[in-house]
């Protein structure tokens, strides 16, 4: 049994060779436990930026920042831009100052969501045990897939990375280990286009020199508290007594003690059932008037409705979310007698709530969500009183069919049209 292989052609890589004897590639991966490890963390490299560079090759060789609008922050910086110090979540003006020559592209979320869905589809080809963490990263559990795929999880993952590149034109970094905690750390070790393996046996030594903040859930506050108690490096936690840590920090103490040793028993939970489905948008300019707000509310309601319909879900709690220009959040909810998935009903409830909040306050964000989700089978029942209800519902479903065939913009409700367009 070998302990390594070539990531490009998947053939065995004999020890002591620096290049693959079959294809000549230097991208070899070796590890003592490589045939056994099955928990992976997959992270797309500079996801939004990579997609934009893929779609516009002229951007390929220049620093690229994906960030939105006038008041936005950096969503993603490509690796080139990162060398200038540009980071995600940094205010745009600062990013521009650090890297004035960078190309700036506004995010195109629907495109990224589509690519992410493709990546996920390829993941599901490997295992149903996929736990998405965000749009561009996920945990995967490939235990027991060796016979199915005719190769160990490590090779399946290398082949997956190759397919993502070939089919989707983006790159991923993979961390392979025995649990989620170590897999996540591993995926950060070799980026971009990386493949890092961290075995249970490496954990103690590898973690020892790292700061405690590497452990997820240890933020600034916890870090200060741990530092005050003499825990700076993970090594300090490794030396501590489990009971003593539990006495100090309760169950969190036990968690720290275990993670410091690379012990993590959390399971991979495939796609959790959504609790609510919502959509929101931040305006370029704050808005106080009902008319433009209701227009946005309509298009958001349509979006939420489309997502509910796609998942065959309906919900009976409608929540309106507003953020005023002083960043105060207002949420207003309303319960419906029966769950709905229709844009018309979502909008009607949301509009009712919105109308009451029009008091001169200028809003920077509006959103609408549907919660208390259930299957669509009991949704939107026929109504005794509202004779138009079933007709409106039928009309909406007919529009959905048209859009399915002729594209999203084939039919637009008058409310959603810009007045300037007409």
């Amino acid at each position: 049994m070998t302990t390594g292989f070539c990531r490009d052609c998947l053939s065995d890589a004999p020890d002591a060779k620096t290049r693959c004897p079959v294809c000549g590639s230097p991208r070899l991966v070796r590890h003592g436990e490589i045939e056994q490890l099955a928990i992976a963390h997959v992270d797309c490299d500079a996801f939004y930026a990579t997609i934009e560079k893929r779609d516009n090759p002229t951007l390929a060789d220049q620093p690229l920042i994906i960030g939105g609008g006038r008041r936005g922050v950096v969503s993603t910086a490509c690796y080139l831009a990162r060398t200038f110090g540009v980071r995600s979540a940094m205010p745009m003006f600062e990013a521009r100052r650090l890297c004035p020559q960078a190309a700036i592209v506004a995010p195109n979320m629907s495109k990224y969501v589509a690519v992410a869905r493709e990546v996920r589809r390829l993941m599901f080809d490997l295992t149903p045990q996929v736990e998405p963490v965000s749009i561009d990263e996920a945990f995967m559990d490939l235990s027991g897939t060796t016979r199915l795929h005719g190769m160990a999880p490590a090779r399946s993952l290398a082949r997956f990375a190759r397919e993502v590149e070939a089919q989707l034109g983006i790159t991923v970094s993979i961390g392979l280990s025995c649990n989620k905690f170590l897999a996540k750390i591993a995926s950060d070790l070799d980026k971009p286009r990386g493949f890092a393996v961290l075995g249970q046996n490496d954990a103690l030594a590898f973690l020892a020199s790292k700061p405690v903040s590497l452990i997820f859930g240890v933020g600034r506050v916890a870090q200060t508290r741990l530092a005050n108690d003499g825990f700076h490096k993970i090594a300090d936690l490794q030396k501590a007594d489990e009971t003593d840590l539990m006495r100090r920090y309760g169950t969190e103490g036990q968690r720290l003690w275990r993670l410091a040793r690379g012990i993590d028993h959390r399971e991979i939970v495939p796609d959790r059932d959504a609790k609510s489905i919502s959509s929101e948008t931040t305006f370029n300019d704050d808005i106080a008037d009902l008319r433009p707000l209701e227009k946005t509310l309509w298009s958001l309601s349509e979006k939420v409705s489309a997502r509910l319909k796609a998942k065959a879900l309906a919900g009976s709690t409608i929540t309106l979310k507003l953020k005023s220009n002083d960043f105060r959040l207002r949420t207003r909810s309303r319960s419906l007698d029966n769950p709905t998935q229709l844009a018309g009903r979502i909008y009607a409830a949301g509009h009712d709530l919105l109308a009451r909040e029009i008091d001169g306050t200028r809003y920077r964000l509006v959103g609408i969500g549907v919660a208390a989700l259930a299957s669509e089978e009991n949704a939107d029942p026929a109504d005794l009183i509202d004779v138009h209800a079933s007709r409106d519902a039928a009309a909406e479903r007919a529009l959905d069919k048209l859009r399915e065939r002729f594209g999203k913009t084939a039919v637009i409700k008058g409310l959603g049209l810009d007045s300037e367009d007409t």
Binding site: D337, N338, D352, A374, I385
Partner: protein
């Protein structure tokens, strides 16, 4: 102001009025009850600005006066005082407190001035009539469950009380619906109600009136106008705003032409629906009624847990029919049927069903089917 009153009497009255006071209030005075003492009478009043309850009880008063104190707190105090105690309420002119004394207990509560207490300006009432308490109670019992809670259709958030004609009889009719079921109950038109406007009585008011009716043999006085309604129930006077909206034309949804008649033993039916609906998980899961010959099969299928069926012997001669209903709605209606037999008039799986009560002639229910 100094009032001496029997604890039991005070408790009963506070029990009536304090319920109107909302637990959470943004306007401080609305959390208070108004206490007004004059000429051997103690008046208590509470309001939420939509609804106002007023009760007057005999008391020893010397001197008279008025003030307001937190309603729930004074109710709790009086409730915890020993039975049979004499309660003394005393407010001095210069300090904004009310002292409550009974036996060796002594409480002082902060007051707010009486002048701040809002008055639900009732205006002139245009119509006035009386109803036997039992009639009004039945009218509420049989329709209340169908009141909608959906705020978007605020005009359905109450009982629509109006005059109607059934056959050649003029009636006073109550209707409530939430769009999925409709309940109607009517009685002969009392004199004085002729020509009254149709009014929508809000859900909270309906609930309070129902609770205030303690004596079924009493006569309840009702006065109303376009905007307000007032109930006089013994010593209690409840005045309420009405819902400012138009109740939809419900008559056209009552399917009087349905020709498939099903007669079923009410309690057998109720228990069977209750039993089979146990396996349904999500709120409002449908129960399927399959009718062939003299047999009704009730069934529920829940993909997550299992299924249930039950057969009942019924009277049914029409063509076989499969139809689904929300089990909760069926149970709500079944529990209102007074007679031994429920009569269901069906049409098809997509159209409303009419349910009648052989004993309670004035009652009628309409239920929208569900997809099964």
């Amino acid at each position: 102001m100094k009032v001496t009153v029997e604890r039991a009497q005070l408790l009963k009255s506070l029990g009536h009025v304090h319920r109107v006071v909302e637990r959470r209030n943004t306007i401080p005075i609305l959390a208070n009850v108004l206490i007004r003492a004059e000429k051997s009478k103690l008046g208590l009043k509470a309001t939420d600005l939509d609804l106002e309850v007023n009760e007057t009880i005999p008391a020893e008063v010397a001197p008279g006066g008025s003030t307001t104190v937190p309603a729930h707190m004074i109710y709790e105090i009086v409730r915890k005082l020993p039975d049979g105690a004499q309660v003394v309420l005393e407010a001095s002119g210069d300090r904004a407190v009310l002292t409550i004394r009974a036996g060796r207990s002594r409480f002082t509560l902060q007051t707010l001035p009486e002048s701040d207490f809002p008055d639900l300006n009732a205006g002139d009432m245009t119509h006035k009539f009386t109803l036997p308490a039992s009639d009004l109670k039945r009218m509420i019992d049989k329709t209340q469950f169908a009141i909608s809670t959906e705020e978007t259709r605020y005009y359905l958030n109450g009982i629509y009380l109006h005059t109607a004609t059934t056959g050649k009889t003029e009636t006073l009719r109550a209707v409530a619906t939430d769009g999925h079921r409709l309940a109607q109950y009517e009685i002969g038109l009392p004199s004085g109600a002729k020509g009254m406007p149709g009014v929508i009585i809000p859900r909270k008011t309906v609930g309070e009136v129902q609770r205030l009716i303690e004596d079924n043999d009493a006569e309840i006085g009702i006065e109303l106008s376009q905007a307000k309604i007032r109930f006089t129930i013994g010593d209690v006077v409840l005045t309420s705003k009405l819902i400012d909206g138009t109740f939809p034309d419900y008559a056209r949804v009552i399917p009087l032409g349905n020709d498939k008649e099903l007669k079923v033993d009410k309690s057998e039916f109720e228990h069977a629906v209750d039993r089979v609906s146990t396996v349904s998980s999500e709120r409002g899961r449908a129960v399927k009624l399959s009718l062939t010959g003299g047999k009704l099969t009730l069934s529920v299928t829940n993909p997550d847990s299992g299924s249930a069926t039950e057969e009942i012997e019924v009277e049914y001669d029409s063509d076989p029919l499969d139809i689904g209903f929300n089990s909760r709605y069926l149970l709500d209606i079944a529990s209102q049927i007074e007679g031994e037999t429920a009569l269901l008039k069906l049409s098809d799986p997509g159209s409303p069903t009419l349910i009648q009560d052989k004993e309670a002639k004035g009652a009628l229910y309409v239920l929208m089917p569900m997809r099964v």
